[in-house]
Each structure stands twice: as C-alpha cells, then as structure tokens.
C-alpha cells in the first residue's frame, strides 16, 4: 500500500508526531510505501526516530524567512489576526487555530485535491481533518485520527466534527470511551478504537522497595500537578521517607515551585526538569502517579507500566480507565479528588508486596500497547477499507 500521513508539523515535538512516526516506521518495515506530509516546516531535523525509507515533505516552509510568513509567528488566535488572512474552514476553538491561515488552508487543500498516487490518506488533527474532508478525492481511502477526547473539544470544533467526520472512510480514536462518545455524535461514521503504541522500550527491572513516586508531563494545568502537590503533602506526613519526582518543564514551573515551598514539600518533591533518559529514571521508582485533568491516552503512564511500575491515577477523561482496572495494575480514584489520590498513594506506599504484584500485572497489561500489538491493526484497517472499495492496491 501507499500511505500518506498529513501532519501539522512533522519536525515538531508533540505526542501525535511521535506516535505517527512510530506507525510509519512499522508500516514501512512491513513493506509499504509511507510518506509524511507536513503542513508547515520550521526546523531542519525531525525530533523522533524515523526510518530513512519514510519520505517527509512539507507543503509550506518558513525556515530562513526574514519576514514573518506562514505561521512563523503564531499569534494568540484572537482579535489581532487580520481578517483577510484568517482561515476560512478552521473553527477558532481548534487548539492549533493560531497555526492556520488562508494561505496554509489553500496549500493543504491543493495538495489533497491533487493527490492521486496514494491509496490511503491519514490526517491527524481536527483542523487537518476538516480540510481533508472538504478536498480529498473519494477515490482514495481517507482516515481521520483523533488524538484528543471529545469532551475536551470546544463547541465549534464539535460542530465541525459532526459535519465533516462522516465523510471519512473511518475515524480512529484512542480509547473505548472515545469510541462511545464519538459514536453518539456520529451515528453514521465508522469509528474504531486503535490506541497509540508505546515506542520500543527494553523493560527495566524495578526496585519495589523504593519509595520514590514518579510523575511526568509538561508543567501545565492539564497535568494537574497543582492537585498532586497537596495530595503528596498528606503522603509525606505518613511516609517521611517517600519522594515525588516530577519530570518535565513548562510554563507553570515557578508556580509549582512556589506551591512546594508553601506546603513545605521541598524535602519530598523535586521538579526534575527534562531528561533524555526517562526510561532509566522511571525504573528508579516503584509507583507512577497520573494527576491529569484530561488526557488523550497517557503514553508515559503506559511506558511506566511496561517497566513494571504500579500506577495511581485519577479516572480522568480519557485513557486511565481504558488501561487500568482499579485494584489490578494500580489504583484508580475519582478525577480531581485530591484526598482519594493521597489515600491511594499511601495504600501502595504502605505495602511493597502490593506494589510488586500490581507492577507485575501492569507489565502484562502494557503489552497491549506494544507496537507489535497495535500497528497490525492499522494495516488491517487500511487493507479492509481498500478491499471494500475494490481497489487492488497491492497489485499495482
């Protein structure tokens, strides 16, 4: 098969990009032709491992531009965008709205309407999905990926989803709960749940006597570290020898530092910053904690499970409840319930055998998210969709 993925910025850092590159690597290794088509380009080098057989092209390129050009200077997407330049088809509520403009829309739709030499076009975020739905020919198989749960999308985005997603041959979402939610909004669309796969990692051995708890993510409101800190205050009182290490950087760092000082947690909670060896760091702890307000599918949590860490998590939309059964791989507590999170952390820190047992189950459950388990689902989906329309893709 000849498969093209349409991305906003293939040279960027986000989770979607990493996931798509993982998929591309597996598909190209299975003998398919895979191309990544990026709407914009701001950098020279891709940030994640990518098989050299995967072609990467850009529809617009703002490298080296002296004057601000296409999306080179993202604004806040509010009132300061000149009207004549504002995108026509991207709702303002799209989280990537500020990266789009009229010129970029034209470039994307021109690519889509002209594309003939591929079998499958996969687009990877709402704004791109809407443009593909408007412009890509029905002669190719079109698949929309959703990396975010429906409840997070703003009303104008939901309306466009309702209008445009039924035009796709299939819509792929990350969790079972998303499949239900999107299914309710889009009764006529073909919706599948295919989770993201973790990148290939060598499971490390975990010291279950360790009372280090790990968390990771951008220091941003979404990750709920502001709720994790008061929870850990209770934990530190009960377990003075415990430690919380938070990996990641972000705009809330100073505020979190202030909260740590106010709660007198500076002997128990450390903002570790970025690390290039997260796997190694995670394996120093025996517990992973997820305090997010929302997620698509929390991949670092699954990576932690791959090593055998037991998990304590809010049951936030979406992901944790897909991956965890309360009492099996760890403990699942009501979303944003700080006391329940504290109690659950104390429960697992009380009992090294419990951590060991749950960690072992976590390692088993995480196998469902290995590339070998997930990526064949894509291949199977594309083949089915092609077969249904009678295209003999493999024989051309």
């Amino acid at each position: 098969m000849r498969i093209a993925y349409l991305l906003l910025h293939a040279w960027g850092m986000g989770g979607t990009i990493r996931t798509v590159m993982n998929q591309a690597n597996t598909l190209v290794a299975a003998g398919h032709e895979v191309e990544l088509v990026s709407a914009v380009r701001h950098r020279d080098e891709v940030r994640f491992p990518l098989d050299p057989r995967v072609r990467v092209t850009a529809l617009t390129d703002s490298r080296g531009a002296s004057a601000p050009t296409v999306a080179a200077t993202p604004s806040d997407g509010q009132s300061d965008k000149p009207k004549e330049d504002a995108p026509l088809h991207i709702p303002r509520g799209e989280f990537g709205y500020r990266y789009f403009n009229r010129h970029l829309e034209d470039a994307i739709m021109a690519y889509c309407s002209g594309v003939r030499d591929i079998d499958v076009l996969v687009s990877t975020r709402p704004g791109l999905n809407f443009l593909v739905a408007r412009s890509a020919p029905k002669s190719i198989v079109r698949v929309a990926q959703e990396h975010m749960n429906l409840s997070v999308h703003r009303p104008d985005v939901r309306k466009s989803i309702k209008d445009y997603y039924p035009k796709f041959d299939a819509v792929a979402v990350l969790t079972h709960r998303d499949r239900e939610d999107y299914g309710e909004l889009l009764p006529k669309a073909r919706i599948l749940r295919i989770p993201n796969a973790v990148h290939e990692i060598e499971p490390r051995s975990v010291d279950y006597d360790s009372k280090i708890v790990s968390a990771a993510g951008r220091l941003a409101p979404q990750k709920g570290f502001d709720m994790l800190l008061p929870a850990f205050q209770k934990v530190a009182e009960r377990h003075p020898d415990s430690q919380l290490r938070i990996y990641g950087g972000g705009e809330k760092k100073a505020e979190l530092r202030e909260q740590i000082e106010k709660l007198h947690l500076y002997n128990h909670v450390y903002l570790m910053g970025h690390t290039s060896q997260l796997d190694k760091e995670l394996a120093k702890s025996s517990v992973y904690v997820l305090s997010s307000r929302f997620e698509g599918l929390p991949m670092v949590m699954i990576e932690a499970m791959t090593h055998g860490l037991c998990v304590v998590s809010f049951d936030c939309p979406t992901g944790p409840a897909d991956v965890l059964t309360d009492g099996q791989e760890g403990l699942l507590v009501p979303a944003e319930d700080v006391d329940a999170l504290a109690d659950a952390l104390c429960t697992v820190l009380d009992d090294a055998d419990l951590r060991r047992r749950m960690g072992g189950t976590a390692r088993e459950s995480a196998r469902d998210y290995a590339p070998a388990a997930v990526h064949p689902q894509w291949e199977k989906l594309f083949e089915e969709l092609l077969a249904e329309r009678g295209t003999k893709a493999g024989q051309r």
């Binding site: 100073a254 007198h264 002997n267």
Partner: protein, 158 residues
C-alpha cells in the same frame, strides 16, 4: 566517597535553617557529645559562625537562626557548611548530599528563601546546593516579599 556529613532534610522555616542527616564514613565515638556546625564565609576563612550540637551516633540534627548570617556590611555573602568535633580537631566534614542518584541538585533541590530585616537594610537568606552537591547558604541584599513563597528565584539559581 570521602567522609562527609550527608544531608537527609533541610528545613528553612520559622527564621531558622535546620539540617538533618548522618555522618558518612566517620564514626565520632566518644566525641559525639560535643560537636559543632561551622559556617565559614567563602573567600574569608577567618569569618566563621559556630553552633554546638550533640550527635546521636552518626546522626545529626542542628539548626541556626538566619538572622546571624546577615552581618552588617556584608551585602553579598556565601557561607559553606561543615561539621567538626567541638575540640576543633579533624575531621572537618563538609555538609552535602552525595549518596543519592540525583546530580545537579542546584536546580532540582531548591529551598525557600527567608528574609532578615534591620532598620537599614534587608537580606534574603537561602540554602542552596553547590555544583558539587554540597550545601551552602547565600545572603543577597533585597527587599522582603510578604511570603517566602512569593520571592522570585534569584539569578544564581538559574
């Protein structure tokens, strides 16, 4: 690892800095009754502050008031911390945190500042880890925010 005083906890609060930890690779034996925490002004060895303490085996717990560090006429000052027998005989053990796996504590294990005021000036006092993961205390002239948590990170943290 050379003998040193390994920190477990540092508590900068309520006008004091309290240090908790254990001596590493040194057993004080009978001298444990009388030890002292020594603060030595960097680049000015003759300027020292000394606080008597009693060890529990190898375990130490000692505190001092931050007011003592903000000396008249010392605008910027860095104090290096040591533990030694009260007799002044060796060993002098540097206070630090060497035995865990975290490197680069200067940016990771960050402690709150406390402020000292007199009629004339204000000083911010904050313990910090050096690039060698030893503990020192820095005094910087500055205004006093209302809450320690509201103090912006001084430049030397970055």
């Amino acid at each position: 690892m050379t003998p040193h005083a390994e920190l477990e906890q540092v508590w900068p609060r309520d006008g004091r800095i309290r240090l908790v930890g254990r001596l590493h690779e040194h057993i004080p034996g009978e001298t444990a009754e009388r030890w002292r925490l020594l603060l030595v002004l960097r680049d000015q060895e003759d300027q020292r502050l000394s606080y008597d303490t009693t060890l529990d085996g190898t375990r130490f717990e000692v505190s001092f008031p931050v007011d003592d560090l903000a000396l008249d006429g010392l605008a910027d000052a860095t104090w290096d911390l040591h533990l030694e027998p009260g007799t002044g005989t060796p060993p002098r053990l540097r206070v630090g945190r060497q035995l865990d796996d975290i490197r680069g504590k200067k940016k990771i294990m960050v402690y709150p500042a406390q402020s000292v005021t007199s009629d004339e000036d204000a000083t911010v006092v904050r313990p910090f880890y050096t690039v060698k993961d030893n503990l020192s205390v820095e005094c910087l002239p500055g205004d006093i925010p209302l809450r320690p948590g509201e103090i912006e990170l001084p430049e030397w943290i970055g």
